[in-house]
Symmetry: C2
Amino acid sequence: MQDDARHGLEMEPEEMLSLAGKAAEVLVDRTKALGNDRPWEGEFRAVLDEQFGGSPPEQGRPAMDVLEQAVRDILPFATRLDHPRCFGFVPTSPTWPGVVADFLCAGFNLNVATWLTASGASQLELVVVDWMRNWIGYPETAGGMLTSGGSAAIMEALVTARDAAGNPQIPSVYMSDRSHSALKKAAVIVGVRRENIRVVSSDDDYRMDMPELRRMVSEDRARGLHPIVVCANAGTASTGAIDPLGPMADFCADESIWLHVDAAYGGFALVTERGKELLRGIERADSINLDAHKWFFQPYEAGALLVKDLKHLETTFAMGHDVLQDTIWGANHPNMSDRGLQLSRAARALKIWMSVQTFGMEKFRDAVRNGLELAQRAAQYIESSAALELTHKVTLGIVCFRFNSSRGDDERMLEEINRKVLAEIFWSEHAFFSSTSLKGKFTLRICIVNHSTTWEDVKSTLDLVARLGHEASKK
Amino acid sequence: MQDDARHGLEMEPEEMLSLAGKAAEVLVDRTKALGNDRPWEGEFRAVLDEQFGGSPPEQGRPAMDVLEQAVRDILPFATRLDHPRCFGFVPTSPTWPGVVADFLCAGFNLNVATWLTASGASQLELVVVDWMRNWIGYPETAGGMLTSGGSAAIMEALVTARDAAGNPQIPSVYMSDRSHSALKKAAVIVGVRRENIRVVSSDDDYRMDMPELRRMVSEDRARGLHPIVVCANAGTASTGAIDPLGPMADFCADESIWLHVDAAYGGFALVTERGKELLRGIERADSINLDAHKWFFQPYEAGALLVKDLKHLETTFAMGHDVLQDTIWGANHPNMSDRGLQLSRAARALKIWMSVQTFGMEKFRDAVRNGLELAQRAAQYIESSAALELTHKVTLGIVCFRFNSSRGDDERMLEEINRKVLAEIFWSEHAFFSSTSLKGKFTLRICIVNHSTTWEDVKSTLDLVARLGHEASKK
């Protein structure tokens, strides 16, 4: 017995297969063509609105037409963050098993809220988080979960830190002037007043200035503030600088303040020897966030939060609820939703697990090392160039530089020229990158975290900057 | 010029297609078999850990083997929330175009953070959010964004409400004793002390008791608390009850308190005439969250937050950052990340848009109506049954009932029998549902929001409860 309603939102198996097959073809064609395509495309709101705005239709139309419209009119208008010459912001380049995993995860309709709703995927998340625990060098007491990204993970860390400090009346937090806006946003969310989000200057290497941190904390305590967390950068978004993790851990231990490390961009450098060395001390943090959708080659969204003592997370986030009274599974079967913000949760671990199983850690290590090495090579190339100037030493995969053929120091003119270069690059369709501001100095910035980026991609981009810079300075 | 490293994490097009093709086949086969499969499968941690725990491998293995292991050992151990007889918690049943959209979204590697990184998908999100705005009956000043789910949306609403109230020193929030744990979690996150999360009793219909709300707010103000938000339920998770939205809106207007409506489960009833009637007054709320992964048939994650006056969201969440200095696009081109927690954001709008375009609103309306009608029919069937008792009147798609053949009121014995029934159902493999607690009364509970559920699915489940109840009461 079946009624008509049953088939309203269903599809015949053949149609399902052909729709998914078409999607796969589109994606494979896109991947094949990517290096020869432009790294960015965008459109104005009015134009896009005309194409696909307006009310939802009462009647449907063939699924294949809908897919084709999405592929033609909607999806391409974006920064191709996985383009080998997309160096803007922190780009990303997902592996195919990761993409297929997201497809499976949606299709299996998994909700990794509790052990009962998804025991397989809950265990998988424990496994993947444990890999990260090992890479960090955290003890067995540590644990955590996957998140929508760094913003959520940082927010969850700050709530946990705030509660661990007894939820004081006037909390304050500390971060360097190179910290990511996600840290400020998280502090606002958890109820720290904007004036008590204390921004500590960074030193000449853009690392947190320890004497200033000491001074501020001591002053703030004197005026009745309660410092709940010090945030360190393990790879700033601007330059890749790593804050002095050891001294910060010493300071936080002395002062009984929670130390959080934002390793969203830099954390996965830990799978290489060089990264491990650079990030020494990270294992002393109380909590750490990393993004597998950045330097671990996964599709969005794949953040992670690890806490050195897992029980802090569950103390803060586990809530009871009548409707979930049947989900109790017994000891040692954690409900992943007890560890953070989300109750319903997609199975984010699947993509990480499938990618690593398919390629093996050796290839992942190589891919991360590729970024580290290309950045170093770019720095050398820039330093040996008469036209270019390195504006900050390279630590991880970010290279800050500018056109400066005259080795001049007329900042106003250098900014004008380099802004022109950036605009020209933007329209060149060869590469895409962005700029940043280093102590008021306008600087170009490339971030190399794509496993498919070659030296030729980097070199051709630097050469183009030199050429465009010469043109711009002649005008 | 290519070097070896380039191919470390890449795959040949043929392999990519065959991997995606296999995934599609697996998912289509799963869908075809779903109604005849059991609605739940679970496993113990030790067993799962043995199957796929341990360190990541140094060397990879064939992608197809990895996929097959995931499909065999990991993914099936879950509640099949899209099974036509899965009535537990709030189940979900995604449409295929929605699943394919998530595949496309991962493959296109979209990051809907700013207009510049994804103008197509940003516009698409505006379009889909505007559909929701219209269904609610919100004015043109309203807007919002898609979120990972209700928990994130509610948290964002509470931060916004707190800031709109001037971020007072001792904030308090109000919700009924039937409110979802996500509301408590959100309040904790935004810094409301646990003792100031004020739980208002509900009346006999499990709707917020207005005199008690009035009394509590007035008492709290007198002792120096600052009420920042009153939370209403538009469909409680336990019974589907809808709080008195009109009177709550009046009260909040009089008291200048932000009114948030948690419509995670019930919100999409708005696309039907009956739902519109039931939810009248919702358009007077300051903010509303809904989950398209619930009653709008999308894969996880697809939450939404709408705010009556959009500028409140951007006042709270927009942060500047050096590294994003190049993303400014000019007026009327919003950066979606300025509206909430996340910076990097998957393109959640694509699944909603593709599904609606493919099937049309008429079919979506039918599918939601199907749930409303089946719940009413179940209520009638229970009321006409000698063995079953309706424990709460049906409002939306949730039916609360229990075995009670003797019309007895020995609560202890009724609980014992019904707990036995629940356990038997759990192992029966015919259906999956859960229980709840109504003013201390243990009750069974089915939630009907699957577009593929038929009356036969519901009836056979109720008949099974009656049979198991008789057996349990004989023992």
